[in-house]
């Protein structure tokens, strides 16, 4: 398909990236020797781009997101957001986790309004109005006063998404956010996430090991190698949006990503 173009590993750098990793590597202290978790690798995410990182499990995908979020720091190289070195977590780079991580002591609306508390100039009413708007975006109207435990898994994750968007992040970091949801719920969320991405023009860096999910969501798929993760190949996805999860083109691309991953794992294709 012409919808997919393959760029050579490490190249394909946007002109003025929002997120940029330059020669980043990360090692953790091991019992005897340091364990190489990541890199060295280069990566750049352009404004409004939806980049999906795919790699074998344990390859260091989450570590990469943690570096951009500011939860961890690189052993070598530089992590930049809007040209500035990342020095810690902040609402300009909001992370969404596999668990919704909503605050049980707050109702749904107050959870979504939580990041708005930083701005001391807003009134409670303004914050509630803006939070209500975000809830509407993720189709959770009417659940403002619900407690967290009263929501289903998919609804929780949507509320978490609304809360993240309320922070007004420059980039949304998604660490397998749909990993623990059932298939039906997940497929509905793919549609909603694409819609949100279209509406808000959000920049997204999304980590998954689900190749079909990657094919369905990405402007660009970056296939990572086994640990320590390096950029193995970059697939530019030109498929029109919104994409259906079961679209044949999406399936074909997913197959392509899988082939790259299998190659990475050293498994033979075919019988």
């Amino acid at each position: 398909m012409t919808a997919v173009t393959v760029a050579a590993a490490g190249r394909a750098r946007p002109a003025s990236p929002r997120v940029e990793l330059r020669g980043v590597s990360k090692a953790f202290a091991g019992r005897r020797a340091p364990v190489e978790a990541l890199g060295p690798l280069d990566l750049a995410v352009a404004d409004g781009e939806f980049v999906v990182l795919v790699g074998p499990s344990g390859c260091g995908k989450t570590t990469l997101l943690n570096l951009v979020a500011g939860f961890e720091f690189p052993s070598a190289g530089e992590v930049l957001f809007d040209g500035r070195t990342v020095v810690g977590p902040g609402p300009d780079r909001v992370m969404i986790f596999q668990q919704p991580a909503l605050f049980p002591w707050l109702n749904v609306l107050d959870n979504v309004a939580f990041p708005l508390l930083r701005d001391r100039t807003t009134s409670r009413r303004q914050r509630r109005a803006r939070a209500t708007e975000q809830l509407h975006r993720v189709h959770l109207d009417g659940f403002e006063d619900a407690f967290v435990h009263e929501l289903s898994g998919g609804m929780k994750q949507r509320a978490a998404l609304a809360r993240a968007l309320a922070a007004g992040p420059g980039v949304l970091l998604c660490d397998e956010p749909f990993g623990s949801l059932d298939a039906l719920t997940r497929e509905r969320l793919y549609a909603q996430l694409q819609e949100l991405h279209g509406d808000t023009g959000a920049t997204v860096l999304f980590v998954t090991h689900n190749t079909r999910e990657a094919a369905c969501l990405a402007d660009r798929v970056i296939v990572l190698s086994a640990r320590p993760a390096r950029v193995k190949c970059v697939l530019e996805v030109g498929l029109p949006r919104p994409r259906d999860f079961y679209d044949p083109d999406v399936s074909r691309l997913a197959g392509r990503i899988l082939a790259e991953l299998r190659g990475e794992l050293g498994e033979s294709q075919g019988p």
Binding site: F71, M95, F97, A101, W105, L106, P115, L117, F147, L173
Partner: protein, 263 residues
């Protein structure tokens, strides 16, 4: 195969248990194997309590115990919460104080009384001291545990959403630790109640503990048993009255299953 389980409402179950205790109590008294100065039937106990209520000594003693408890428990709760937060926030403080407090918890309330008398003499401060020393360690440990058990992703979510250091403390860590804090407060109430009665037993001229002690001095089994019952009932009632709303709040927010106790 079907299993038939009869669901008895908690209140009915508790009432049944209380009636069972009364029946066994009456039975033992009716057997007549225990001398009258050592054991009294429920009816005698009720009459003795009525007498004590009429001559005003029960009311005065109850009031005295409750006032002491109000002082002691407030102090203990404030100290326990503050120390527990420090333990939860600083790993060094936590590790250092945890073993110390676990050790102190080995001491029964009554073991603090001699030291309290040496330090404070016959003043009420001695009793307050016993309450504080009995209740604070458990409350501090429960608070610290509450903080330690906060799911790490909640803290990470708050940080990535831009919570300041102050907001992390007041808007995230404190409310997230509430289940542990509530457990600690209730435990502290029980231990403080032990403390006040233990201290009054050994030194005082008014109070539930004093009435217990006086009952033994006078070989008045009815008074001893009656005051024991009053201590249990008042302690439980105040626990419900003061903390039930807190428990309900936590349960409704966190979605914990209601415990099978008096609601």
């Amino acid at each position: 195969m079907t299993r038939n389980r009869i669901n008895v409402p908690p209140l009915a179950a508790a009432t049944l248990a209380a009636l069972g205790v009364l029946a066994v109590w009456q039975l033992i008294a009716s057997l007549g194997v225990l001398p009258a100065y050592a054991f009294a039937p429920p009816r005698a106990v009720g009459e003795r309590l009525l007498q004590l209520a009429r001559d005003g000594s029960l009311g005065a003693s109850l009031a005295a115990s409750l006032v002491r408890m109000a002082y002691g428990f407030t102090l203990a709760a404030a100290a326990g919460l503050f120390i527990g937060l420090a333990m939860g926030v600083s790993a060094t403080v936590g590790a250092g104080l945890r073993s110390l407090f676990l050790g102190l918890q080995m001491l029964p309330s009554a073991a603090w009384v001699p030291l309290a008398l040496l330090l404070f003499g016959l003043r009420d401060a001695a009793i307050t001291f016993v309450i504080v020393m009995s209740a604070t360690p458990a409350m501090a440990i429960a608070t610290a545990d509450g903080i330690a058990h906060i799911p790490p992703e909640l803290l990470r979510a708050a940080r990535t959403l831009g919570a300041s250091r102050l907001a992390m403390g007041t808007r995230v860590v404190l409310p997230a630790a509430l289940p542990g804090i509530v457990t600690g407060i209730k435990l502290g109430w029980t231990l403080g109640w032990h403390g006040v009665v233990s201290a009054e037993l050994i030194r005082s001229s008014v109070g539930l503990g004093f009435l217990l002690h006086a009952g033994r001095e006078l070989s008045d089994a009815a008074q001893v048993l009656g005051i024991m019952a009053v201590t249990v009932v008042v302690g439980l009632l105040l626990d419900r009255l003061l903390f039930a709303w807190l428990e309900r709040w936590v349960r409704s927010r966190w979605g914990f299953a209601p415990e099978a106790a008096l609601a």
